[in-house]
């Protein structure tokens, strides 16, 4: 019982970070980035490259890799999604076209990674030792990853809440036209948010790869669906929703994994379906 309590909480903290990048991207730019999981995988692979070539610790390597993914995110936003926003006549058209573009991105990232690294799973093992938490053996790297996830999530919360950039982002979400009138370049804000979302995904992917050594070029879709379930559960664009959704799914995932490891993804999907049909706004949605 205690192991479920602790394991679920740790997983929940990590899941929160997994979902937060996608939530930020969707919240600010209104583009549902289905390639989110692939950005995570990309981050993990970049960390892997730096660990292998510079023999750094994974925790240091991800600090180099994630900014590169940030740049990629900004470039993709400017090259693709900015044009899509201009070309699309209605919100539905934009949603649909950006969905397809994201699938395209996902294909490209997955297969480029496959072409370079091959089909074998990789990982960046780090701090792989057991410690005692309330008499319960726990893996140190999981606790470190959960701690970092919480720290990053809180940092993002403060960024959005109390800084000028956060204010600008929130203004862009609330009133895109009004924000432009008061002199905000919303295209810059969109590019920045998309990049920031990609950056957070890369960190999440790298942290995941320090715990589980099962990242391979095609594992992006799984992460995308976990993240999607969390933000649908919590409410799209809601920070607290991401937090609550992350923990709920963390427990759900941990429990099903414990009793029937083969069905854990089915449970995630079924949960997503039920949420979409019963309450598409999510728990914290407006």
């Amino acid at each position: 019982m205690l192991d479920i309590l602790i394991g679920g909480a740790i997983l929940g903290a990590i899941f929160t970070l997994v979902s937060i990048g996608l939530n930020l991207q969707y919240g600010v730019t209104r583009i549902l980035n289905i390639a989110h999981g692939d950005f995570m995988v990309l981050g993990a692979y970049l960390t892997y490259v730096f660990v292998q070539s510079l023999s750094l610790s994974p925790l240091a390597a991800m600090v180099i890799g994630a900014p590169l993914v940030f740049l990629l995110g900004v470039i993709i936003q400017l090259a693709i999604f900015r044009w899509l926003v201009r070309l699309s006549k209605s919100a539905e058209e934009l949603e649909f076209r950006s969905l397809l573009a994201c699938f395209g991105l996902s294909f490209i990232i997955q297969n480029v990674l496959y072409q370079i690294f091959g089909p074998y799973p990789i990982g960046n093992p780090c701090l792989d030792q057991a410690i005692n938490v309330m008499g319960q053996p726990c893996r140190l790297n999981m606790i470190v990853a959960a701690g970092i996830s919480i720290a990053i999530s809180l940092a993002l919360y403060f960024l959005l809440r109390y800084t000028r950039i956060g204010l600008i982002m929130r203004a862009t979400v609330e009133e895109p036209t009004g924000a432009q009138i008061v002199g905000i370049n919303i295209y810059k804000v969109h590019a920045l948010s998309f990049g920031l979302g990609a950056f957070l995904s890369a960190l999440a992917g790298s942290l995941w790869s320090t715990i589980y050594l099962d990242i391979y070029p095609y594992s992006g879709a799984t992460f995308t669906f976990i993240a999607l379930t969390i933000i649908v559960l919590g409410g799209m664009g809601s920070f607290m929703g991401s937090l609550a959704g992350g923990f709920i799914l963390g427990y759900l995932y941990y429990i099903t994994y414990k009793f029937e490891p083969l069905l854990h993804m089915a449970v995630v999907y079924i949960f997503l379906l039920i949420m979409l049909i019963v309450r598409p706004k999510g728990l914290f949605g407006r």
Binding site: F107, I108, A266
Partner: protein
């Protein structure tokens, strides 16, 4: 009168096409080209079946793999456990099974719109796959299924038969009142509802028929290889390729899926032997290009040139 003449013309063309395709094994006299032709027919059938629902109503379904795999797996299992049943009967049963399941899936998922519908259908395909995985590992204790071996000619004819059946069914439906209702839903669902179209009924049945056709084609695919497993049968390419092929060809016309599927499956054939990953990368890039530059696909560009070419068209446009 004019309309009738056109109908006869297209009917004659269709019969000629059937004759050529039926005679193809003897005309080509080459197993490799026959298999390439088979793949083209197969993808055209899948894309056109997908187009019947998603192209007309603009509800983009990304779960074809579920129905394709269900058809294939059902047929494979039945042929293994009750070999007395003749193959064609099993294929028809697979189509009916898909129809029923898709009715249920449609009832649940068609309450959603736009990207939510796309996500839900994609999720359903994954759920079905995971459940079959679980069933195989936990209950039967086997991975995949072995199947009887068929000759290339038999494979060609069985896939040709199911594909043509689907194509004829789809074409007839598209031209009927039913197809008109689906197209109306695609243009504006509210208007359709106001004019007395029972939109949810039409959507659900359209979705089920499209799924049944996909399942029918999937069922005939057990003749291709003597072994199948969940990764082959429920591969997500069966969800994505029909959508990409239709969009490449142009989702606005019935010729779009035919052209897109032929083009992409030939490119796939050319690349897949040496560089399967390169094909996927091209597919991804193509998706982005379609979305950015040619939202109406190849047919959209053709139409544009047609109207540019003739001054009459230009004038008509101005009027």
């Amino acid at each position: 009168m004019n309309e009738k003449q056109e109908l006869w013309k297209s009917l004659l063309g269709f019969l000629a096409l059937i004759a050529v395709l039926t005679g193809a094994p003897y005309l080509l006299n080459n197993i490799y080209y026959l298999n390439v032709l088979r793949d083209v027919i197969f993808w055209v059938a899948l894309s056109v079946s997908w187009y019947l629902f998603s192209g007309l109503t603009k509800y983009v379904a990304l779960g074809s793999a579920a129905f394709f795999g269900l058809g294939l797996y059902f047929t494979a299992k039945v042929l293994n456990y009750w070999p007395v049943l003749p193959f064609p009967v099993v294929v028809i049963l697979a189509g009916l099974l898909n129809f029923t399941i898709a009715l249920a899936v449609g009832l649940i998922s068609l309450r959603l719109k736009g990207i939510y519908f796309a996500i839900v259908t994609f999720g359903i395909a994954e759920i079905v796959k995971v459940i079959f995985d679980w069933w195989e590992i936990r209950i039967t204790g086997t991975l995949g299924t072995y199947l009887p071996i068929f000759s290339d000619i038999t494979t060609y004819y069985s896939i040709l038969t199911t594909s043509l059946t689907s194509l004829v069914l789809v074409t007839l439906l598209r031209r009927s009142k039913f197809g008109l209702a689906l197209r109306m839903i695609g243009e504006s669902e509210e208007t359709a509802a106001h004019t007395g179209v029972n939109t949810s009924l039409y959507k659900t049945i359209g979705f089920a028929i499209s799924a049944a056709c996909i399942g029918l084609v999937g069922a005939s695919c057990i003749t291709i290889s003597p072994y199948t497993n969940t990764r082959i049968a429920f591969g997500s390419r069966y969800s994505f390729y029909p959508a990409v092929m239709t969009l490449l060809g142009g989702a606005g016309t019935p010729y779009g899926p035919v052209i897109g599927a032929s083009a992409l499956s030939l490119i796939n054939e050319y690349l897949s032997v040496a560089f399967p990953q390169v094909f996927q990368i091209i597919l991804g890039a193509l998706l982005i290009i379609i979305v950015l530059v040619m939202p109406n696909g190849i047919m959209g560009i053709v139409e544009k040139f047609k109207t540019l070419g003739s001054r009459e068209g230009e004038k008509k446009k101005e009027d």
